[in-house]
Amino acid sequence: MKTTFCFIFCIIAFIIAGCSSLTLRPANFSWPIEIAVTPDVDGTVKIPRYQVSFNSKPLLFEELQDSIYVTNRMMHVIRDQNGYYFITAKDFKNVYVFNQDEGALKLESKIQVSENGLEAPAFNQKGLSVQLVNEQKENEPAILLSTDGIQEGEKK
């Protein structure tokens, strides 16, 4: 009886230990500056510094309905503290926020930031948020973004 009880107790203990998730907190995934990179002929964006690559064709098609001419579009990518990827490019009307998934980037949110398309977008890392600026116009007001949308500033 005693042995059976011990055996059951051990099994329960193992099950409990196996079910509880171990969390490492805090963690910071932010990149200090954005990466501006052109996709290769296959539409793959490669970021060697962080060993990241992804296929940009679906994104380009979603935004521009064109995924043929991919090599002439500079993609601006930055990762925020929580690990979300913010992606946009020239002439985009939106900033796309992706989360990491199994072998993929999954769209978390799509933030409209411009009526007519961005002129020269660039991301800056600003604490918990991501700042979107116009690279060519220093005096143009910036927009602060988070996964939920625009935090500060107005659409361009």
Binding site: P32, I33, E34, I35, A36, R49, A122, F123, N124, Q125, V133, N134, E135, E138, N139, E140, P141, A142, L144, E152, G153
Partner: protein, 412 residues
């Protein structure tokens, strides 16, 4: 109340934070990396001690320029951080210096001169920016009568700045040549190439051309006073003599480059245009002063014509062909003497015209003599002269009277 104030400060702070930094940080990092890469290549290809000194001050410059972005660069650069990137550059330069066998004392002296060059070069940039603002202000104010005083101040500031800029660019060229401690003729090909590179990097030709063009534009702008013209004439002759010293050196350095030889000639011709314009506006301004004060001379465009016409005019007045009364003539001379001669021409114009070679000493003497003669011709005779004449006449009369009295006595 306190809470409201904190909320307001917080709001203002976040507003400033949002609006203060809107540049792309990636661009800043890229620019820094680009500069480091470029300087690294320069260090590898340095051939002389002067090259090393120049690269050393360029490293100082980028270190200073990006010091306030250190936090960002430390985070963004990989695998090095900001300090390590600078340190690596200095290390590379040190190795190159050792390879070239640079003597430390010589290097220290040249580095000092190079720092001077860098300082002067930055000064030129800031003066250019300031002068552009002043020139725009002059354009804006020129139409408004209410802003006359402000306009005068701006013109005076711009005139001073132009003089300063001219001085700075020549000092820069001097400091560059001083590093080599020898005549261009005695320089090796490597040294010539090195100074050639420096002159190019510091945009010396563009700077010199800009100096002349800015001076020309200033001269052509309206609302200049006679004293402005005098200063411009002075500046023109200073610039010309400095260019005479520097021009041949630059020509020697650029002897093989056709394009640059043309640039030396272009500066020569631009300087010629400026000098002619200064000449023309000087004579015009002088004529305006005289005409405004009732002295109408025949047109003159050079020293000979001015001397001949002025002395001729004065001769006519001395001869009094119009037969004007004495008091009118005296009044005319006094007006000229007080308003033009003593106030303007004698203390200001004549020395400048003499200094710039537009008048010779002989011509200045002639003009001064003419004025002296004019003064003598119109000045009333002094009462002392009348009294002396009277005394002499009385003495003669008394003498004669005594003589006539003596004669009858002798006869008696």
């Amino acid at each position: 109340m306190k809470t409201t104030l904190y909320i307001f400060i917080l709001f203002l702070g976040s507003f400033c934070f949002l609006n203060a930094r809107q540049t792309s940080e990636r661009l800043i990092v890229n620019k820094f990396e680009g500069s480091v890469k470029e300087l690294s290549l320069f260090a590898d290809s340095a051939k002389t001690v002067q090259d090393c000194a120049e690269i050393s001050s360029m490293i100082d410059e980028i270190e200073m320029k990006y010091a306030e972005k250190k936090d960002l660069l430390d985070r963004a650069l990989y695998p090095d951080d900001y300090s390590k990137a600078i340190e690596k550059l200095r290390g590379k330069l040190l190795i190159r210096r050792n390879d070239l066998g640079v003597i430390e004392t010589q290097y220290a002296r040249i580095t000092e001169l190079e720092a001077q060059v860098l300082g002067l070069s930055n000064k030129i940039d800031s003066l250019d920016q300031e002068n552009e603002k002043l020139a725009n202000a002059i354009k804006r104010m020129s139409g408004s009568k209410a802003l006359v005083d402000s306009l005068k101040m701006v013109i005076s500031k711009l005139r001073k700045n132009l003089i300063k800029r001219d001085e700075v660019i020549f000092s820069l060229v001097d400091s560059l040549f001083l590093q080599y401690d020898k005549n261009v003729a005695n320089m090796t090909d490597i040294e010539k190439q090195s100074i050639y590179g420096k002159l190019e990097r510091k945009n010396v030709f563009t700077g010199l051309k800009k100096s002349i063009e800015d001076n020309l534009n200033f001269l052509r702008s309206t609302n200049l006073t006679p004293s402005d013209y005098v200063e411009i004439a002075r500046q023109n002759s200073r610039f010309t003599s400095q260019w005479k010293g520097v021009g041949p050196k630059l020509a020697d350095i650029y002897l093989s480059g056709k394009k640059k030889t043309d640039e030396v000639m272009l500066i020569d011709s631009l300087l010629g245009v400026w000098s002619k314009e200064v000449d023309r506006s000087n004579w015009e301004s002088l004529n305006t002063i005289l005409t405004k004060n009732g002295i109408v001379l025949k047109p003159f465009n050079n020293g000979d014509e001015f001397t001949a016409n002025f002395t001729g005019y004065v001769d006519t007045l001395i001869k009094n062909t119009m037969e004007e009364p004495e008091d009118v003539r005296a009044k005319q001379f006094n007006a000229f003497n007080d308003n033009v001669w003593k106030n303007n021409i004698e203390p200001t114009w004549l020395p400048v015209l003499l200094e710039s070679g537009k008048l010779t000493e002989d011509q200045v003497d002639k003009i001064e003599n003419a004025v002296d003669n004019w003064e003598s011709a119109v000045s009333p005779i002094s009462p002392i002269v009348y009294i002396s004449i009277a005394i002499v006449i009385i003495a003669i009369v008394i003498g004669l009277a005594m003589r006539f009295r003596k004669k009858p006595e002798e006869e008696g």
